[in-house]
Symmetry: C2
Subunit: 431 residues, 2 copies
């Protein structure tokens, strides 16, 4: 089993009692086996000894909501009203996506994400076999789900559900366990109630969690009330969704009572601040959710509504906007934003051994080059990560004990080929 | 006179009729003399011909409010209530700053800013001779002012005003005209009215503009009403401040009536979204200000309240937060945010020949490496700059016709020495 020692580094462990450690870390196989100030003796049986001077090591970032292939639509129709953007720009182009388009769009996003320190993603899209193969090849971790929209004839509903079920069954636990799966009704407003109930039944049968969009816009909440007489939380509760472990994307417009129900069922929220701001969906009640004990993690959403996939920015936005909007300068401190981007992200998708640098945890971690002005003075590195760092500061990325990025270069994917194929896909879609 | 041709580039000119140009640009001495799709003949009399393939050229960023030396306080006491942060953290440390501390703090910030594409800054601080010398050495452009706080005995008021006056007189137009100066009462709440009037008189005598903080927090606005019976805008108007060309920092809490007065006097606002959010000051009424015809530019404020000095982030925040808070997805489009960070920034400090890439304009421009996933597909580069780019994408920086950064390296400053001296300054301040 390969054994690696990293010494002279600064480590942000996410350990509650002592987050910042100046010292060293040992990785054996896919696990961290030691982290501490002292170098463990003897030092003669390592396959590799890395000098971590001027590097900051931290858990890899966990992006809990996205549609990687939508990088194909980055900058395609920005700054439009939401309905025009969706109906005239996004949907017509997405309808043209082939599995090859999804492949190259997803791979381009994966290159951007892993080079930027994201080690785990949630991805909900179509042509998911391509997504799973891309994740497998990249070496990163993925919690994947075929999102189904049920506004279609029964036979198409059936076909989509069958496809989603097969995908979830076939890929769960694959790629050395780096891939897990979920079942996904796309949203309450895109799936009839009986279809949602059928999806929940499959999740029960396969013993899988559920991922869905919920309460992203106030308009959608009102439409739910108009159509079903219930706000989305009560509606999904009634349909049995929360009888399964559930991760909900957005949850922008929720009442105190709804927060209480989400807490009761331990429903996890993926907060997507960049996307919510850009699409003018509003500002989620994250401080209230966190205070109520709801697990809140962070997601970029697709690149069409963000427009980059930099999780440092999502942590920063989460730390900043809730202060500014609430008028409370301690609304979400840096340490909490960092947990949202790492440990709470992992917990939100039921990964118990990811998100901290501690013995026994998976070796999913990244290194930042801190020999740069914006990391000085060497005061509070948690603050520097959240308020000052960006994806471009990441130099090394390790997932499951394997290096997938080193010195800023992808080791598992051919970036140049991916960029070329991606551009060809986009040109074809336009043409 | 040195003559340079850049060919095969993509240029964001900020020209209203045609912003994006695929072609080339010619620089002669300190000016742009040509920009267009065709390469001007003949090509044999250039000192340098640059291949701009895979680069995006745009006007340098203009940061219209900051305190560069405050990088010494980056991460020192984050996530505290405003008064505790100021009274227990910022002020006691700042009181200890020597001119050498200001020198190294300012130089560190300048390294961060120029490498990140900022070519012009406004700086308001103490020990301004050090700041001016740092700007002169760096090759960047600076609009500088000694900010005076008047809550002190008359003889100290006199000494500060004398110092500010001498600084403004001595440095205006220096460094080949790259340095201009202003007069600055720090803020209405830190300067007695008669002291502000004396500063205004000096600005008249020297024919210089005024820069001040105004209406950053609602608490400060209320205190102004309580003490003087007027909100800050009327108060400053009454004291004659707006009889001089004026640039105001923040302007977060302004009424419709105040916006009208600001417009009437052509007062310019430096919007500092990152700082305003982090300090929980609120969200400025930028869409309303812009619609009323007020010039709004962007500033980072000091690194203690930001915490990096990345102007791409300020453009992105300006484009995002006003959408999210207003519920209007077209509140501030990308193109407007870009103008706020460049052309309107230059206009806000009365630089008429900076902020656009057009014949006759100063050669103040930057190049971004766009051969990266987050700049694909090649759809809308204005959108990519605002929603996707960051300081770390900048590779080349030219100011006044001189390269000050190339391939990501500072040519005018010794970055390694500056980092070392900065750390020593910080250690002494702590000790």
């Amino acid at each position: 089993m390969k054994k690696t020692l990293i010494k002279n580094g600064i480590f942000i462990s996410n350990n509650e009692t002592k987050t910042t450690i100046n010292g060293c870390m040992v990785i054996e196989g896919d696990r961290i086996t030691y982290i501490g100030e002292q170098t463990p003796a003897p030092q003669d049986n390592y396959n590799e000894i890395i000098d971590g001077t001027n590097k900051l090591y931290m858990p890899g970032l966990v992006n809990t909501h996205g549609h990687a292939a939508m990088s194909l639509l980055r900058g395609y129709g920005d700054d439009l009203a939401l309905q025009i953007w969706l109906e005239e720009k996004m949907w017509p182009m997405e309808a043209k996506f082939s599995s090859q388009d999804v492949k190259w769009g997803t791979l381009l996003s994966i290159v951007e994400m892993i080079k930027g320190g994201t080690t785990t993603i949630v991805d909900m899209y179509d042509h998911m076999n391509e997504v799973a193969m891309a994740i497998e090849q990249s070496g990163m971790r993925g919690c994947l789900t075929r999102g189904v929209i049920g506004l279609c004839p029964p036979e198409i509903q059936d076909a989509k559900l069958k496809e989603a079920t097969e995908f979830a069954r076939n890929w769960h636990g694959k790629a050395d366990g780096r891939i897990t799966t979920m079942m996904s009704p796309h949203a309450p407003y895109t799936c009839p109630p009986d279809y949602i109930e059928r999806i929940v039944q499959v999740a029960h049968d396969l013993n899988l969690p559920i991922h869905t969009h919920m309460s992203e816009t106030s308009r959608e909440v009102q439409a739910n009330v108009d159509q079903y007489g219930l706000r989305p939380v009560a509606h999904l509760e009634k349909l049995g969704v929360f009888s399964r472990p559930t991760l909900v994307a957005h949850g922008v417009h929720v009442t105190d009572e709804e927060i209480e129900i989400l807490k009761q069922y331990d429903v996890r929220i993926s907060h997507n601040p960049g996307s919510n701001l850009k699409l003018a969906s509003g500002v989620a009640r994250v401080p209230e959710l966190l205070r109520a004990g709801v697990k809140v993690s962070l997601g970029t959403d697709g690149a069409a509504s963000n427009n980059n996939l930099d999780m440092f920015e999502e942590m920063r936005l989460a730390a900043l906007i809730h202060k500014g909007v609430s008028g409370n300068p301690v609304a979400i401190p840096a340490a909490e934003a960092l947990l949202m981007g790492t440990k709470m992200g992992a917990e939100s998708i039921w990964l118990q051994d990811v998100g901290q640098l501690l013995p026994g945890m998976k070796a999913d971690f990244i290194a930042l080059d801190i020999d740069q002005p914006h990391f000085l003075p060497k005061t509070d590195f948690v603050s520097h990560i959240v308020y000052s760092a960006s994806a471009k500061d990441v130099v090394d990325v390790c997932v499951d004990g394997n290096w997938i990025v080193r010195k800023g270069e992808c080791l598992t994917l051919d970036e140049e080929k991916i960029k070329r194929e991606f551009e060809q896909s986009f040109d074809k879609l336009l043409g």
